[in-house]
């Protein structure tokens, strides 16, 4: 991106955190000292050289599970966000470019989807859908797509009103050209910031679902599942559940720091009113 603002210390911290998370997710098999479900000690053992963060509720190495969990969290959140953007941006741009009834139908349907809080919507459909990863990703992607649709339609609608898009329409260009060549390049920087926001939201959403027992199902575990598995220890003074919780918090803070930095120079895209 040509026009990102200069790096700030906060942005640097955020970028470093996100990079560390991606490394953790990508190199989990090499970084984790133990297989994900190997029992290495007693229940909720204190940290030792073998189990850096202690053991979990059935004696597995918590650090290893954290590293493997990063992989699960990253994969699902990234897939859901990517699909959400694919659907949301193309439909949002399409609605803004075609206008008229196409826009009306798509926008009203989207309003309807957004009139139900995300978590409630997810709970309702997860009550009847099979519990597997594909369903989870698709449900998350659908719900995120509604938010992406709203934002990208708004960005594109601002751009469609600009004279250079009108000139392209007058030239007789197809709506595909207008979407891809006239609008997309000018919508990239706000969309990039939105991508960060949605990714942060996907991580939170996924861990919340897993925490409620409706997300990732055992034996696979993401960070939210780790909290759920270890939460009962809390009352016995075992803080194992707080470690994956803190990991989620740190990751989301880092993503948000990056987004804040990117938003600092989002150009305003308001068109001027014509007279006459």
């Amino acid at each position: 991106m040509r026009n990102l603002p200069p790096l700030t210390p906060m942005a640097l911290i955020g970028l470093a955190g996100v990079a560390a998370f991606i490394v953790l997710a990508a190199f989990a098999p090499w970084l984790a000292p133990h297989p994900v479900s190997e029992v290495v000690g007693g229940v909720w053992d204190v940290p030792s050289a073998d189990a850096l963060l202690g053991t979990d509720n059935i004696g597995r190495d918590l650090f290893s599970r954290l590293v493997w969990g990063a992989r699960v969290t990253f994969t699902i959140a990234a897939l859901a966000t990517a699909i959400a953007f694919l659907i949301g941006v193309s439909l949002g741009f399409y609605a803004a470019v075609r206008r008229g009834w196409v826009d009306q139908v798509l926008s009203r349907l989207n309003d309807l989807m957004m009139a139900i809080p995300t978590l409630i919507f997810a709970l309702v459909v997860l009550a009847v859908l099979p519990k597997n990863m594909v369903v989870l990703v698709l449900v998350m992607a659908t719900l995120e797509a509604t938010r992406v649709f709203r934002v990208s339609r708004a960005i594109a609608a601002d751009l469609v009103g600009l004279d250079y898009v009108e000139v392209a329409r007058l030239r007789g260009e197809s709506w595909r050209w207008i979407m891809v060549r006239e609008i997309l390049p000018n919508a990239l920087s706000p969309l990039l910031a939105e991508l960060g926001l949605r990714f942060a939201f996907a991580i939170l959403f996924l861990s919340t679902l897993s925490f409620l027992g409706l997300g990732v199902q055992p034996p696979i575990a993401d960070w939210g599942s780790l909290v759920k598995e270890n939460k009962d220890g809390l009352l016995f003074g075992v803080f194992a559940a707080l470690i994956p919780g803190a990991a989620i918090a740190v990751l989301v803070i880092c993503v948000n720091l990056v987004v804040d930095w990117m938003l600092q120079k989002t150009t305003s895209l308001k068109g001027a009113r014509r007279n006459g």
Partner: protein, 344 residues
């Protein structure tokens, strides 16, 4: 330019999650506008009931099978299909369901045979109480912090508030909740870690028990609300009439108080409305953490049991509360908008 760094981004975010489309007011009186908004909201509520019904009934696979699991005997499936009236076509079932729901009858739970409406009533009361308690603390606090950070825009106060609220946004509700439990209940035994309230409990004790869930909920919504308030105010502060006020020789606090706030009121009400969504999501998670007998826990329990009638009913109640609060906020926002209040 030196414009507000966050205003633009949050602004798109505000648009992104606005539940009701905010329309430009045309001519006509404010009352006409209010009635129009009300009718639109009711229409939306009806459409949402359709979505919730469809979401649980017309999805791939058979509801009965999914409720019983793959190993169910054909006889069991047939009996549950009959009980749920699944042999009737979906539109007929929808009309029956909605008609009964409007009359306050949600049918019986599949898993424990209890009357759903009777189970919901006390739980809804508990949930609303918890949410209201959190809102009473969070809304004024968020607005105050938002105003403070605008008053001290760019100073260390602003930056500190910004960083703290950014962290608050980033904490998952369950992490915040367990942190509070770890400190207040486990390390210090100051407050109970579970909030199993009952009607028999005296009000004082009840409030103490509810303190931790309430605090968790406040943390969940405070950050969003404060940041959006700040963005809305900064947006107003960039208006030319603020420069006019500055060039009248007015002090900064009077400019914010007299010239920015009256115009920011309407967007701030919108901000509060938008955060109702976070409040509702937050309340579900918080109830599970603290074993608080409310709608959220009820819903989550029955989702796990695949108890479709309960999920439909609870989902509809949550959506209805959310939409009704939004209509209310929308109307307040119209009433606080000076351009709409004084027509031409």
């Amino acid at each position: 330019m030196g414009g507000p760094p966050l205003a633009d981004g949050i602004d798109t975010d505000i648009r992104a999650i606005s539940p009701l489309p905010v329309q430009k007011a045309g001519g006509g009186s404010v009352w006409l506008l209010l009635v129009k908004r009300l009718l639109l909201g009711l229409l939306l509520l009806w459409a949402v009931s359709l979505v919730i019904f469809a979401g649980t009934q017309i999805l791939p696979g058979d509801v009965a099978t999914s409720m019983l699991g793959q190993q169910a005997t054909p006889e069991a499936v047939a009996s549950i299909r009959k009980e749920l009236g699944l042999e009737q076509p979906a539109p007929v079932r929808y009309v029956k369901w909605l008609g009964a729901a409007i009359g306050g009858d949600f049918g019986r739970s599949y898993s424990n045979r209890q009357d759903i409406a009777k189970s919901i009533a006390p739980r809804l009361k508990n949930t609303l109480l918890l949410a209201a308690m959190a809102a009473v603390i969070a809304v004024p606090l968020a607005i105050l912090l938002g105003i403070l950070s605008v008053l001290y825009n760019g100073t260390w106060i602003d930056r500190t508030i910004g960083l703290v609220t950014l962290s608050a946004i980033s904490l998952p509700e369950f992490f915040a909740g367990y942190l509070l439990i770890a400190y207040f209940s486990v390390a210090h035994f100051w407050l109970p870690s579970s909030a199993t309230v009952s009607d028999a409990m005296p009000i004082g004790q009840r409030l103490v028990v509810m303190l931790l869930p309430c605090l968790t909920l406040v943390l969940a919504v405070l950050g969003h609300m404060m940041r959006m308030t700040r963005a809305a105010l900064l947006n107003v502060m960039a208006s030319p009439y603020i420069e006019t006020a500055l060039l009248k020789g007015l002090p900064w606090w009077r400019i914010v108080w007299k010239h920015a706030l009256p115009n920011a009121l309407s967007p701030i009400v919108n901000v509060v409305a938008l955060n109702l969504a976070y409040l509702i999501v937050g309340v579900v998670v918080v109830e599970v953490i603290f074993v608080y007998p409310g709608m959220g826990q009820y819903l989550v329990d029955h989702v796990a049991k695949r108890d479709v009638p309960v999920v439909q009913a609870a989902g509809l109640v949550f959506a209805a509360v959310y939409i009704l609060l939004n209509i209310l906020a929308d109307m307040v926002s119209v009433l606080t908008n000076p351009r709409l209040r004084h027509s031409r």
